[in-house]
Amino acid sequence: MKEGIPVEEEEFYNRLKEEMTEWQKDGIIESTQAESIMKRYGVEKKTYKPGNAISAISTLAVLLIGVGILLFFASNWELIPDTIKIALLFLATFLTYYAGYVMKFEKKNYPRAGHALIFLGSIMVGASIFLIGQIFNINADTHWLVLLWFVAISPMGYVFDSRPTIGLMILSFTYWLGISIIENYRGMSSTFLLYLLFGIALYSIGQLHELTDKLSKFRMIYKGFGIFFILVSFLYFSLWPSSNNYYSPSYESAGVSMGKILSGIFAIISIMAILANIFEREKLRSTKYEFYLLLAAFIGWILLFLINMYPNLIFTLPVEQYGYFNMPPGLDIILFTVFSAFQIGLSIVTVSIGYYKNEPPLVNIGIFFFALGVMQFYFNNLQGMLPKGLGLIIGGILLFFFATYLEKKRRALLSTMGG
């Protein structure tokens, strides 16, 4: 077939694209070769898919409906007795799931709308849990209601083949993690120490999904959230040394706690994934960059863990006596440099993974955090060397050109990757 001949059949195009994605993951071809093949078949790099727009709009619509339902019931709808309220929510939740099932699986007439309804059903499970909590006057800040929501919807994403539902499941767990741990956690790193490990574990779970063809399609939702938490945590840790003190000792100075148990579980998952990247590389379709990412992020976590423990080791105070302790002189600069290097380095590795594995979301996330890292480096350090007004003007000009350059690079990379 000669170069430039357009391919009419969408099926052929999709199949070709899927195959090339797989070949790239298997390391058979690289992005540039994939591009050449696409060119050879005259396939346009970007095709408008109305289905994607329908999915996006349906998902946004059900999000609005879901939030509306949550707010509506949260306003303690006093005109209806509690039993009727519960019955209505049960009915609405399971009818929504059923309507979604019929549209997507049984009649298959509106699969995308059906998909969105299944997602709405999972939001309504949460609304039901919170309403029941309200009826029984369970304390407003009770974190385990969110955990219950997470447990209740955890199989739904897999059963109904719904990535947004898996995203909702991850978000609900993330939220629970924050509100349940924050009340017991008071190290210098607050909850971010746990979120970093959570991010590594999430990325690892995404990789484990790649082991089977059936689950492989869910890998990116885990990896995307995972890399986000890794990078946002390192961004926080690169900012933290500027406060120049510890807040210590943490509440969690002794005994077994939920935070410690979860940290242990996340650490085990992370270590397993790092080892799997060495011994099961073929099966995982792993690139060396994924190994670097997980290893570097995990080493960074160990380092942070030791820094967090440091005041607890040198101060033998009773738990009730806590406060701020100044850092040794010069340590703040060392820590700032180390964690800025982690943040910027891992952003670049993320872009590389996205490029080599043909995953555009990773390229976007990596470039976004790279830009954030450079910006915070400027505002924290370079700006202070210049007079205030001049610093801002020069910073603004530099950032403008830098942002334009990065955007150009991002587009060029995505273009090379074929969309």
Partner: protein, 174 residues
């Protein structure tokens, strides 16, 4: 996906929701009833959104006046044995583990949310009372005269059953 698989999938969240209702229903309907006196708190903290933030006289415990099996730290679980006074229930002693108690006593489980010297602030899980939108002010204005009927089950878990202002049950106008 066939219908049988769909029904199986739906059973999971349905059982969780039904179990959650049953768990609360058990505490509310099988537990012993006690009446607790609320304590005034900073008005800015009393009403948040659509629920009233309650604090009780038993929420503050001075370990120098009440017997305990040791010191308590922030985040510790705490069990208190309550005895009935003339009208309200009060703390007899506190401990770290679920105690055995007499038939005329009640055990309630909570969490230490603040600790300073011998003083503890305890959250008993009954600090929120949900009200219809905009109705929190009525209770806020009468907070000095509020008491709460609480149901406590055998596991020492407590749930609010009814709220009283001047010994009259609170009923919100429709």
């Amino acid at each position: 996906m066939d219908k049988a698989a769909f029904v199986k999938a739906m059973l999971f969240p349905a059982l969780i929701l039904i179990g959650f209702i049953g768990y609360n229903y058990y505490t509310l309907n099988t537990g012993g009833e006690i009446l607790l006196k609320t304590a005034p708190v900073d008005p800015r903290d009393i009403f948040r959104g659509d629920y009233v933030n309650l604090r009780y006289e038993i929420s503050t415990i001075d370990l120098s006046n009440i017997s305990s099996d040791g010191n308590f730290n922030y985040g510790d679980n705490i069990y208190a044995i309550l005895f009935k006074g003339e009208k309200f229930w009060y703390v007899r002693n506190v401990m770290h583990y679920r105690p055995s108690f007499q038939s005329n006593e009640v055990c309630i489980k909570g969490k230490v949310t603040s600790q300073f010297n011998t003083n503890l602030i305890v959250n008993w899980g009954i600090e929120s009372y949900f009200v219809p939108e905009g109705k929190g002010m009525e209770i806020e204005q009468e907070i000095g005269n509020v008491s709460v009927k609480v149901s406590v089950d055998r596991t020492c878990r407590a749930l609010i059953k009814e709220l009283y202002i001047n010994d009259k049950p609170v009923v919100f106008s429709k």
